[in-house]
Symmetry: C2
Subunit: 350 residues, 2 copies
Amino acid sequence: MVALHASPAERHKLSEDGILVMLNRHFPATHASLLLGRGDDCAVVDGKGPLAVSSDIFLEDVHFRRRYFMPEEVGYKALAVNISDLAACGARPKGFELCLGLPENVDATWLEAFFSGMAELAKRYNMVLAGGDLSRSPTVHIAISVWGEPAVRDGFLVRGGSMPGDVIFVVGKLGLARVGLHVLEDSGREATKDWPDACAAHLRPEPQVDAGLMLARAGFNARPPALMDISDGLIRDLPRLLGLSGGLRATGQAHGGSLGAEIVLARGQLHPEVIRHAVNLGRDPVRETLLGGEDYALLGSCAPDMLPSLNAAIPGLFSLGVVTTGGNILCNNEVLDVSSGFDHFNNGHV
Amino acid sequence: MVALHASPAERHKLSEDGILVMLNRHFPATHASLLLGRGDDCAVVDGKGPLAVSSDIFLEDVHFRRRYFMPEEVGYKALAVNISDLAACGARPKGFELCLGLPENVDATWLEAFFSGMAELAKRYNMVLAGGDLSRSPTVHIAISVWGEPAVRDGFLVRGGSMPGDVIFVVGKLGLARVGLHVLEDSGREATKDWPDACAAHLRPEPQVDAGLMLARAGFNARPPALMDISDGLIRDLPRLLGLSGGLRATGQAHGGSLGAEIVLARGQLHPEVIRHAVNLGRDPVRETLLGGEDYALLGSCAPDMLPSLNAAIPGLFSLGVVTTGGNILCNNEVLDVSSGFDHFNNGHV
């Protein structure tokens, strides 16, 4: 792959074949769910039942910066944010396709580490890389499509279905990734020393796959929980759960607006790094937590009698409040202005 | 979507919600094959059997230029090149996911036309847009994942399986899109006047879906044809069909190199615009045809006794030569140097 006597400048130059060799080392080409693997015009997935599918973009200088992301973390996070969508449907990850655009200034060392971070996650969830496409591009850009199967027969979870009186719950951390983004933007990699949890939440978010599967199972013999992942902050995503607003991929959902919510975020529930960061800036830690962005926590609602068993089965699940009627969202007894929050399209978060 | 008294500068400014409204107008949200449509974390595809899946990137200034592509053509071609991969497997297109990055200088008029070009093709093949992702990006970039079902039970076609004595055939035009690229790069949109077929081949390639389905059916009660689409030129793709080289997505295919080919390209078979362009530049029209690039024709091989029925059933199919042994490819009795041709990764074709 690399000529023995290549000049230093040539040594790490990438060729298409070199990239394929690297890729084959990191990602097994076969998988029980693939009838035909990489190398043909299409891969063939063994569709034995319904499949959950989702796609996400992960772009340099829009979603990440090479300045403070290790290449392993870029590879990891690009796949993690896609897996989070599967988790939010209670799906078991099965496979993915990778579209990868690379600029000239990416070398073999960077790419090797990028693949290893992605492969770590693919291996953990036994996902096959079924194919994809490779191109030159001005900056690193990654588009991934993932698919998964239901944990229980036909048992995917959706956003809709909340009812007044339902408990609203979260699995994961709120607001922490946003603090990570801010401190990494301000101080670069150095920020990981003072803000370890916040930086980790931004650099290596944990998709809540096991929790999603548990929630899907809980819904098999009862009214299924409503579920989604929080990518744009609780303040934008809670209205989506309740059908009060659309969102990036929303189409024709109920906009009647008859549901509402009352949630409580006590200071004791907030992460110490979120509090410290808010205090440093003279801001309200609760509001900072609500604004969030890229939490990749799960947000859901369920009948109150389901909560004890969920609490027992799912580490990191906590209840946040209740579903009400009337279209308003109250947090700590104040009406939330839900028009703020995180907008990937118009703000581009870095 | 657009404020009534918006200033001229604001009038065509895009919002996320505005884009979603536009998208919903162009692409129906429901489809017989979708159990859950757009608007949730995942879509749910009704997997009643194996699915062929493929992904392709389509990037501004790498794969297309806004200078001479109409927005309709960008939308059309981004999806067409993906559908071509399904055609090459003999698959019937079913659905797709769209990852779309848009720079600030794209306005609603451009995007409307872009969607209409893409929707034209989606409608023709009854494909549902199941979801995707939207982001800001420095240039227009598009990554699409498509899936399709087999024309006949489990009847996807693959690249491998050619045998000595098999007939090599092509469905579609060779070398024409490459001429289109050159003249459009030289003269911009003006080139469409003197080079109508070449420009059309580059701007609006025709995926050979019907031919792929016919070929899959032909293989149901006989040894199936080997099949792929020609995206990098015959000179690079024929060795891939024969297992002599890997390619962008190749992994662990037979590299034994025992097959070969003898093909004939008579001047009478070449497109007049390819000949005229080659003559203008003092080049060999046959070699220019072989170099190709983005032909999106189908390339295949089959047992000789299958050819007459294929010829009768598939318009535009012509035979090119025969599969031999020994690892060499002869064209018009001369050994081809197959190390040249079109390399998306290292050359970036525009």
